[in-house]
């Protein structure tokens, strides 16, 4: 299934260290919004029992384009 999100939201997710494929989109046709990414982050941090933080992105994905 294709991931639907605008370029800016894709970038935001990346910068927050979020794999956008894990985020449930609430927009039309499952489109992921910026708020969805924020909620995802908050959900995660609630689970891990600490506050919202910026996660340094993993830098070692070696997927050829």
């Amino acid at each position: 299934q294709e991931i639907l999100a605008t370029p800016g939201v894709r970038k935001f997710a990346r910068e927050q260290g979020v794999d956008i494929a894990q985020v449930r989109g609430t927009g039309a046709h499952g489109k992921v919004t910026r708020e969805d990414v924020i909620n995802f982050l908050q959900g995660q941090s609630t689970l891990e029992n600490h506050g919202v933080q910026t996660v340094e992105a993993p830098r070692e994905t070696e997927k050829p384009v």
Partner: protein
């Protein structure tokens, strides 16, 4: 200046100053990096010096000449006379303006620009040769952006009368006759331009259609105009050999086994371009290659060597300036520590033919393969008020959407200003817009952009300005 055997230390080294390299240099410098850009020729690369910009300058001059030579407007009689050498001087002034601009931008962003030919001596060191001497540079990070050059046919080598696009862009006189081998976008753009200036043009294309990478329907209108300019077109034709005299050149070619000859002042060979990766010493440092001389990279534009990146025409993907620049920004940002990746849904492609062709996203067949069922909406220029008022009623806008979701996945425009109309459609695809999103967006009247809205309504089954089935 460092001379002799001293090795200069640089932070980011960029090899090649085309739209990939110079954009990367500016972005890296903006993000705080110390950047050295090396090019063996002029900054601006193929694009500004012998590609996009000079070709588009000649195309717009030819359009202006043609529009005045054959006025489409009743009541406005116009004439045109041509001083082609002066057109070439103007073209060069356009090029100089753009390359001058790039130089100013590089300087303003404190990029150190060096002239010289680069090859690798170690995984973190290059040698830069100028005519008189050589320097070594040791770098932290490196972006290779050496671009591509025209492919030469073994049997028809470049010569005084067998030209590549570079020479064809710089002729000082309009040739009486020209044979173009290769009916891709560069051959069509240049062939059509000279045909408008009065050259008798013959196009030799190996496949069964000009512009073979585009849907057949798209090339039909271009074909019609080429015929209007008296261009001869041979498809399924194979160029065999040339015989050159002081004044002309005779090409022998075969069409389904049958041998033919055609004589002209010049032959222009536009059968493709090959990446400039063969003289860089890439083997010595062990850079991993992909197919066809291209360098393998990941989504961060990184090669298999951790501190070496590659972008533009030397990596897989469409060999287009805007794709090179996009990758240039990504590579620069990654080097500056940002979390950027090559992450586009679509790359537009434009042919500056007459009429213009612009496409973005998937073609209809590709969309069917990916999405199963698709819906298509097509709207003709002839039904658009602005097009009619411009005497430009040839062409159409075609949208392709996933049937289930209505998501726009591809778009094609052929006709006046296609090159600008495609911008909205690229954005629509990137933003995951549906046909309804586009149809419900108010488009100004009377503009060509209305056709985008109307094509969406056609696809949705509620067309206003064409009749449904």
């Amino acid at each position: 200046m460092v001379v002799g055997e001293l090795t200069e230390e640089v932070d980011v080294l960029i090899i090649g100053g085309g739209p990939g390299g110079y954009v990367a240099a500016i972005r890296a410098a903006q993000l705080g990096k110390q950047v050295t850009l090396v090019d063996k020729a002029e900054v601006g690369g193929v694009c500004l010096n012998r590609g996009c910009i000079p070709s588009k300058a000649l195309i717009s001059a030819a359009e202006h000449y043609e529009a005045a030579s054959h006025s489409l407007f009743p009541g406005i009689a116009t004439t045109a006379t041509l001083d082609f050498a002066q057109v070439q001087t103007w073209k060069q002034s356009v090029v100089n303006k753009m390359t001058g601009g790039v130089k100013t931008l590089l300087k303003g962003n404190k990029v150190n620009v060096v002239q010289g030919e680069v090859f690798f001596v170690k995984p973190d060191e290059v040698r830069v040769m100028t005519e008189v001497e050589g320097h070594n540079y040791h770098f932290e990070d490196c972006i290779i952006a050496t671009g591509s050059r025209p492919i030469e046919l073994k049997t028809i080598p470049f010569s005084a009368r067998v030209l590549s696009s570079t020479e064809a862009l710089s002729l000082q006189e309009v040739p009486d006759s020209l044979i173009v081998i290769g009916g891709g976008y560069i051959g069509i753009e240049l062939g059509q331009t000279y045909a408008k200036f009065g050259t008798k043009v013959t196009i030799i294309e190996g496949t069964d259609s000009i512009l073979p990478t585009f849907e057949a329907q798209l090339s039909r209108l271009v074909l019609r105009n080429l015929k209007k300019y008296n261009v001869d077109i041979y498809t399924n034709a194979l160029a065999q050999s040339v015989k050159e005299t002081a004044d002309d050149v005779t090409l022998t070619f075969t069409v389904s086994g049958e041998e033919k000859t055609v004589k002209a002042q010049y032959v222009l060979v536009t059968v493709g371009r090959r990446p400039n990766t063969d003289e860089l010493g890439l083997e010595t440092i062990g850079i991993q290659m992909a197919d066809k001389g291209l360098i393998a990279v990941d989504e961060r534009c990184k090669t298999n060597l951790d501190h070496i990146y590659a972008i533009g025409d030397i990596v897989p993907g469409p060999a287009l300036a805007h794709k090179a620049s996009y990758e240039g920004k990504v590579a620069a940002e990654v080097i500056a520590g940002r979390n950027s990746v090559v992450d586009y849904r679509c790359v537009p492609a434009v042919v500056f033919s007459d009429p213009e062709i612009a496409v973005v996203g998937l073609a209809e067949e590709e969309a069917k393969q990916t999405y199963g069922e698709v819906v298509v909406g097509r709207f003709p220029y002839a039904a658009n008020g602005r097009a009619t008022a411009l005497n430009a009623d040839a062409g159409y806008v075609k949208l392709i959407a996933d049937k289930k979701s209505g998501l726009l996945v591809g778009a094609q425009v052929i006709g006046r200003e296609a090159s600008n109309l495609i911008a909205e459609l690229g954005l629509a695809i990137e933003l995951s817009a549906t046909l309804e999103d586009v149809a419900l967006t108010i488009h100004a009247h009377p503009t060509l952009g209305e056709m985008v809205m109307e094509a969406s309504e056609v696809a949705l089954g509620l067309p206003i300005h064409v009749l449904g089935k």
